[in-house]
Amino acid sequence: MSLQMELEHGRKALIVRLKGELDHHTADVVKSRMEDAIVSGDVRNVILSLRDLSFMDSSGLGVILGRYKQITAKGGKMVVCDVSPAVYRLFELSGLFKIVSVQENEKSAISSLEAV
């Protein structure tokens, strides 16, 4: 598999860790697994960790934006952390930075949720 996903139900948020390559081919499984977890679980916020993501293109932007909309519709928040320079550039180009909160790592992502 070119993409692995790890989901952890933390106290404050569902933590989703992506490892490998996020493109159109792998976006579907990210979409459905996150969607299911958000709908069925008692999930208020989502932390998306991209530390081990080695590749992402605009299909990744689409799936991230989709989950952002889903969680904010439930009154929750989405925080993205450990963003590589390459992914950072895609966030900048698309304006995703203006709506999604970006944190350095999981720890600061969690405390950013606690601060509110």
């Binding site: 976006a27 979409k31 605009s58 934006l65 698309s94």
Partner: protein
Amino acid sequence: MSGANFMKLSFASRSENESFARVAVAAFVSQLDPTLNELTDIKTVVSEAVTNCIIHGYDNDPNGIVTIAAEIEGDTVRITVEDEGAGIADLEQARQPLYTSKPELERSGMGFTIMENFMDEVDVTSAPGAGTKIRMVKRIESKKALYN
């Protein structure tokens, strides 16, 4: 200098070939000794163009054919990605940042914008029913050039 070096690939319009396509082009371009950033740019634009052929050109039908050609001449790489699918009626609209004709598929509409930002030149030839051909050019700041 003798003529340009080139390669050409045709493959089925299946999403699992997106990673194959970007890795193959990156491997070909590697002979120019590009930086890691340049290689990421190339992989990303190939991924965008091939994904568009599959999703938009062939409407996710796996029976289409996507063709990539790449050419190296001096420090310049030229890449073409083409399909024989639906084609684009309004090119100007298609190239607008955030425009997508398939919002229901969670497309971001950023493919063309990324290609334009990561490459030095991008041009598109397309007509409804006659497929789409994307031609992209990038000069590689070859590390080798510093020493030769």
